[in-house]
Symmetry: D2
Subunit: 265 residues, 4 copies
C-alpha cells in the first residue's frame, strides 16, 4: 500500500515530506542560562526545533521532577530570541491549558503512549502531537495509539522511535531501527529518531543518528547539554556541544548521498 | 532482611498476613444483571471481594470503553446486596472524587503503573491501592512505583502480578511466578496473582492460580463471567461459573497443605 | 484435543502419568565424595533420580568445564550404591557412545535445544531424552525440537521448563509457569520443572518447586549440593541439605491436596 | 579504551580496517545454476564474497535441510569461475575436515553461538570464523564466545549482528543497530550486518543495510536469490537481482559521505 506522506506544520517549520528536522535541547530545562545557551547552539548548528522537559516522569520519586510553570516565561523568551519552535512532554491532561501558550507541539512520552485518557483529550486540540513509542509497545499497538488521536480529529501526528526494552543490558534500550523503515513503508506519518534514549550512551548517539537518517527517518529528537556531567537528568546520554557539532557536520553529508537535505525553519 | 508483613484493611475484609483472598468478577461491568449474578456466585463460593471494570483502557479505540458513571448506582446496590467490598480500575486522576463512594480500593492498572502523576494523587487519599505491575516493568521499577505511593503517605498498598511481556506468544503474557516468591521474600506488601491476564487462556487460569497460592501469593484477582463467549471484553480468559467453582474447590486444599486458609469477609 | 499421557521408563523408575518425580543432585559432579554424599541424601529424602553435570557448557571459557570421563567410574559406583537412575547433559554427539553406559537418560541442555544435528543423532538411540527448553525458544519451537526426536524414532521424551530470558534482571531467568500448564493441556509428554535455573536464587527454589507441582508438573530437576558456597558452579542457586529436606517435606502435602503422590523408584 | 582494528584476510579479500565488504548469495545453495547465476550477479555488482548454505539448521524437521556434500564440487567450480571467496555455515564439528577445501571462512550460526564444543574445535584451525550473534545472546555473552575462539588460538574473527529476539512480531527479529556501534567502540573486531535475518522482510533490507553502513559496520551478509518466491528457504527476506542492484547503487554514496569506500577482491 502506498501512502502520501503527511507533512506536519509545527510553528515556523514543518516535519516530514523529505527534509530532515533536528529537534535538540536538554533533557530537562534547568535554568534560563542553561536553556538559552543550548538553544543558541541548536540554532547555530542548523536545528529545526527545540526540545526540553518541563514536567519530568521519573521512575524514582526522589529524582528531579522538572521546573514546571516556573520556567514558562523564560522558555517563551528563549524561543523568541532564537526563533525556533519548541516541543515538551505533557504528563497530565490538566496541563493542556497552560501548555498551549508554551509549546508548539505536545510530546506524549513513552510511559504515556498507553494513557488513552490523555490521548483522547489531545485528539481534541489543534496542535501537533509528537507520539513516542511505548518502550514495550509493539508496532501495532503504537498504530492503535495513533488511532486514538486520529479518531478524535487530530491528524497532526509525528511519531518518535526511542528504543524498546529487551534482554540486552549493554545499552539502556534497543533502538529499533526496523521500526523506522517499517513506518516509512507502511504509514503516512513522519517519524523522528531519539538516539539519546535509544542508546543511553552519548558515544553511540551520533552513529545511531546517522543510521536513522540512512534508514529513512524524518529527523531527530536529541539531547544536548552545555555540561552533561552536571545535568540534572540523563547526562550520560546527552551530547556536549562539540559532539553535537560533529553530528551536525556529518548529517548533511549522509542526507545528500541519499538525495535529501536538512529542514529549514 | 526480614519484614513484618503488612495487612491492608479493605472494606469489611483484610488482605495479607496469612489468609488467602479471592477477588473475582467480570472484566467489565456490563449490566446490573450480569454484575449481580456474578457477585452472588463469588459470594456463594467464598470470595473475599469483587472486581469489575467501569472505565476500561483498551488498546483499540474501537473497543468497549466501559459503562463509567452509568453503573455507579447499581454497583453500590450489588455490593450492599452481597456484602462484599469492590475494587475497580481508575484511569484518570479526575475520577478520584466520584470513585471514592463506589470503590473500597483503587486499582492502578498495568498501563498506568508508570503514570507517576496519578500515583502522586492516589498517595494523598485514605483508601487502599491495588498496584498492578507494568507489563514491562522490572521488579525494581515496580518497587519504585510503590515508593511514589508510600512517599506521599499512603502505605495501604496491595501488589498484583499480572504477567509480563516476553517473546512468547503462545500465552497472552508470561505470568512471572518468580515475582510472587520474590515479593514475599523481599517486601512487606501483600500480593495478589492475576492468572486471567497472566495467561490469557481460561483453561490455564486454575493451574496458575493454584501455583500462585503454592508460591506464597496472598490472593487472586480473577475474571469470572456468567457467559464468557458473550463478554464485551476478555471473554477468552474469563472463567465461567463451573470453572470458578472448580477453582474454589481446589484452592482450600492446597492452602491447607501449606498451613494456610481462605480469607473471610 | 485430549492426549493420553506418555509414561517414560528411566532405569528402575518412570516419569509421567501421575506420580511426581524428583531428580536432584549437584550442578557439576565435582568428586566422588561430593556426589556420593549428595546421592545418599537424595535417596534418603525420596528422590526418584540423580542429576549431575559431567560435561559443562559454560558461557565463560575460563569457568570449570566438568570432570568428563574421569568421573564415569565413580558415578557408576554411586548409582549402584544408592540404586537410583542418573541423567546428565550431553554436549557433543561424539559423547553418545561413552555415555550410554553411564546415564539412564540423556539431557539436552537449554543451549542445545536448537542443535538439530545433535537431536537427529539422539533420535536414533534407545534411551530417554530429557529435552530442556531453549532459554529463548517459544513453546512452538520447543515442540518442533520434540519433532526432531520423534521423527527419528525416539518418543521417550521428557520435557523440562527451566526459565526463559526476559527483560527482568531480579532473577536469573523468568520461570515460565504457564508453559507447565500449557504442556499438560496440549501435549502427551511428561514435563519436569527446573526451579534452580528458573530462578537462580536458592531461596526461591522451594516456592517455585511447589508452584510447579500445583500447576501440574510431573516432577523436578533440582540442584542440591552439600556445601553450596563452595560449589564449582551455580552454588547461588543450589539447595543445601536442610533446604532440600524442607522442600521434600512440603512437596507430598501439596501433591496429596491435588490427589497425587510422589514417584517411587 | 582504544583498540587497533583487526583486519581479517579471507581468501583474496580482507574484512575490516575501513573498506566495506558485501558478502551476498542465496540462503541455501539449491543447484549449480541457481548458485552460479547469483554468484555472477554478486561479482558484477561489486560484492567482496559469496555466502550460501550447504547444511541448514531448520527449526522444522520437515523443512529443506541443505544439499550438503552433493554441492561441494560445483560450489568450488563457481568460486573459481567468479573469483570470489565463500563462507558457509558449519552445523557440526565433524564437518570441519570436508569443509576446509570448500569454504574460505566458517560461519557459526546464531543457534550455535553457545555451542562451546564447536567453538573449541574451530579455535584450533587456521581459517577465519564468521561468528553470528545468538538471537538471544547479550553483547557480553557474544564477547565470551569470542573468547572461546581467541583462547584456543584463532583470532581471525569476524562478528555478525543478525537481529535479536524481542516482543516485537512485526519483523522477524529486531536488528540491534546499537550493537554495531558498540562493537566499533569497544572491540577490535570487524562486524558485518545481516539485514536479511535482522528484518525478515525483503523491502526493509536496503534501508537497514544503509543504516548499518552509517553506524560503522564493516560490511554486509545479505541474501540474494534469482527468484525469491521460489526459494527453498527464506524467500520472503531475500533480495531479487533488481533490489540487490539498487542496494549496491546506494551503498557507495553513503560510504563516500562518511569518507569510506567499498572493499575490493
Amino acid at each position: 500500500m502506498k501512502h502520501k506522506f503527511n507533512v506536519v506544520k509545527v510553528g515556523s517549520t514543518t516535519v516530514g515530506g523529505g527534509p530532515f528536522s533536528v529537534w535538540a535541547g536538554p533533557c530537562s530545562v534547568e535554568s534560563q542560562e542553561q536553556f538559552s545557551l543550548t538553544a543558541r547552539k541548536v540554532k547555530e548548528q542548523g536545528g529545526a526545533g527545540l526540545r526540553g522537559g518541563l514536567y519530568k516522569l521519573r521512575t524514582d520519586p526522589r529524582a528531579f521532577q522538572g521546573l514546571g510553570r516556573e520556567a514558562f516565561e523564560f522558555v517563551r523568551a528563549v524561543k523568541k530570541d532564537v526563533g525556533l519552535p519548541f516541543v515538551s512532554e505533557i504528563t497530565d491532561a490538566r496541563q493542556i491549558g497552560d501548555f498551549l501558550d508554551v509549546v508548539d507541539a505536545f510530546q506524549v512520552g513513552s510511559r504515556n503512549m498507553h494513557n488513552y485518557a490523555l490521548l483522547k483529550e489531545l485528539s481534541q486540540i489543534d496542535k501537533p502531537i509528537l507520539l513516542k513509542r511505548g518502550f514495550a509497545a509493539t508496532f501495532k499497538e503504537w498504530m492503535l495509539a495513533v488511532d486514538y488521536l486520529a479518531k478524535g480529529g487530530n491528524e497532526k501526528i509525528i511519531l518518535c522511535e526511542r528504543g524498546i526494552r529487551t534482554f540486552e543490558t549493554a545499552t539502556r534500550n534497543t533502538f529499533d531501527i526496523n521500526a523506522i523503515a517499517l513506518t516509512k513503508q507502511e504509514t503516512p506519518f513522519p517519524i523522528l529518531a531519539d538516539p539519546s534514549h535509544g542508546t543511553g550512551i552519548a558515544a553511540l548517539v551520533t552513529p545511531i543518528a546517522l543510521a536513522a537518517a540512512a534508514a529513512g527517518a524524518d529527523g531527530l529528537l536529541v539531547e544536548v547539554h552545555p555540561n552533561p556531567p552536571e545535568a540534572k537528568s540523563d547526562g550520560y546520554q546527552s551530547l556536549n556541544f562539540a559532539q553535537f557539532e560533529d553530528l551536525m557536520h556529518k548529517l548533511p553529508k549522509v542526507l545528500t548521498a541519499l538525495d535529501r537535505k536538512m529542514a529549514t525553519v
